[in-house]
Symmetry: C2
Subunit: 329 residues, 2 copies
């Protein structure tokens, strides 16, 4: 498939693996890139800039295709070593960076000065327009469906994607709710140039997470995620479990006048090292509504090939016949 | 266009106008049907069964195409005269009924006994499966984006439509968030057989609502709707205004242990006769997130023609070229 995103990124299929803390290691990123998509290493999962350099080198050894590094900017008491991470990215010759979280203004010039293609992820049209005006090359438009931080506007992709298409001039990928060929064709129809998948890639053979985590995603339906920390305006979508339900119950009891310290013990309880050790009963982890559309744990190659063949079949075998037109030979 | 829904309903385009209280009068329903879609008269907006008979007769005089009547089943102290409404529908030879609200089990046999095609509107896969098992002919799957009552699951159509497609065998239309050719193609790609539009049809020349209401929809962005009465589990999505904000503020203050009587004065304040008198500052009315995609007030014919030509252009001029294939001649 050929879209503005495949052209911009030099990839075969318009499928990007989004940055995921404790998931975006070299193995997964390389598997995605080797399958024709764009894999992404998550910088902040690496403790130091030197660790990131090593992870990039590891990925480079596993693939000769382009891959990205995710840099997430969050308010923090002890700011991560962003200059160091960026230096590691530049030195290694990484061509694409996915920025996320806060406004990327502070770090964008450094990235652009080295010719790096920057995709900024955000959850609203106004933030997308701001990022475009700052000079990012593409956007990842993250709908209410998404895992992790959906923002506070609660606008699903059915609305957000056409709105973004109306306003933006740079290419963008649809993020949140993306599972299969249906999602891809729908996103393209609404104006996106490709898709970004997170949760769907966690449930693949190559994802470096505990098998129980993958199985929990397969077992979950679309009704099994929860939005936590809403009243703090730091909403996060996670897969439910007893610890998450306890946190939500406390949030409900405390109501609007909640402060972080009120729920700190419960929040601590839902953030263990679950992605690494598979303690699925006690921990929480980001999980999108798309869990309801995930029923298997294929290899990354199988997943991407399936999405692309489904997409082609939907366009030529379903949509074209609706128009009462024969498919092109 | 030809889908299971156009075949089932005997219409030219897979576009249904959903039932809307105080909007679904004969003029709008006839305009939609005359433009190749399926118009819908809302039964409960008519005070008596005799009034409904008159409204159906009026619609029949305005169009010789099929149209539907909406029957909404709500818990109520004084139950509406459903047997009378159904008798009016049957006597007039109306071929299609849209049911909504509660489980249609009690009234479905009466409708089916007269050969009426029943489309049931619901907001979850489990309710859709239940309705299918009861024998409805089609479903209208209503995502979190929708105006009015989105239910309490908060599942947007990006997830709900493919989930419905995986589970249902009867045809279904996508409802909630539907505005244009992009929505239509996206919905079809995700497995729907057509679309149901509400808010988009309110902002047409023929809709029998005050021009200030139409203009308010045009002026609104996707950030201007609010969900009220969440804590009562009777959520409704409305366009915001000062009265709505006062209600929401009170709901927030009262928190989880709210009862209807706590907010009855504010609720009364947001439910005047706005659709009829255009008191846009004091009243609330149902409005979908799709308001962010509505920028004009065309005739119904212009709207439907535009949607269909956009849809064709998206399939043949956008999606097919992405596949590197020429459009069929």
């Amino acid at each position: 498939m050929k879209t503005r995103i495949t052209e911009l990124l030099g990839i075969r299929h318009p499928i990007v693996q989004g940055g995921m803390h404790y998931v975006g290691f070299a193995e997964l990123a390389a598997a995605v890139s080797n399958s024709g998509g764009l894999g992404t290493i998550t910088a902040l999962t690496q403790k130091t800039a030197a660790d990131l350099s090593n992870e990039i080198a590891k990925c480079r050894a596993l693939t000769d295709r382009p891959f990205a590094v995710n840099l997430t900017f969050l308010p923090s008491l002890r700011e991560p070593d962003y200059p160091g991470y960026i230096q590691a990215i530049v030195s290694a010759g990484v061509q694409v960076v996915e920025t996320a979280g806060n406004n990327p203004a502070r770090w964008l010039p450094m990235l652009k000065a080295h010719g790096i293609t920057v995709i900024h992820k955000c959850t609203s049209v106004r933030h997308a327009l701001k990022a475009q005006s700052l000079g990012v090359d593409a956007l990842s438009i993250d709908g209410f469906e998404c895992a992790g931080h959906p923002g506070e506007d609660d606008i699903p992709n059915m609305i957000l994607l056409p709105r973004a298409a109306d306003e933006l001039s740079v290419p963008f990928v649809a993020s949140g709710g993306m599972a299969d060929g249906r999602s891809l064709v729908a996103a393209l129809a609404m104006g996106a140039d490709g898709i970004n998948m997170g949760t769907r890639f966690v449930a693949t053979r190559e994802a470096p997470v505990h098998p129980r985590v993958k199985q929990a995603i397969v077992d979950a339906t679309e009704l099994d995620t929860r939005l936590i920390m809403r009243a703090l305006r730091n909403t996060e979508r996670v897969l439910t479990n007893p610890a998450v339900e306890r946190l939500i119950e406390k949030e409900r009891r405390l109501g609007a006048n909640i402060s972080f310290s009120d729920i700190a013990p419960e929040v601590a309880g839902v953030y263990p090292r679950v992605m690494l050790d598979g303690e699925v009963d006690s921990g929480a982890w980001s999980c999108g509504l798309v869990a309801g559309l995930i029923h298997d744990i294929p290899t990354v190659q199988e997943l991407i090939d399936r999405i692309m063949s489904e997409a082609e079949q939907i366009v030529t075998g379903r949509l074209l016949p609706f128009l009462d037109r024969p498919a092109a030979a």
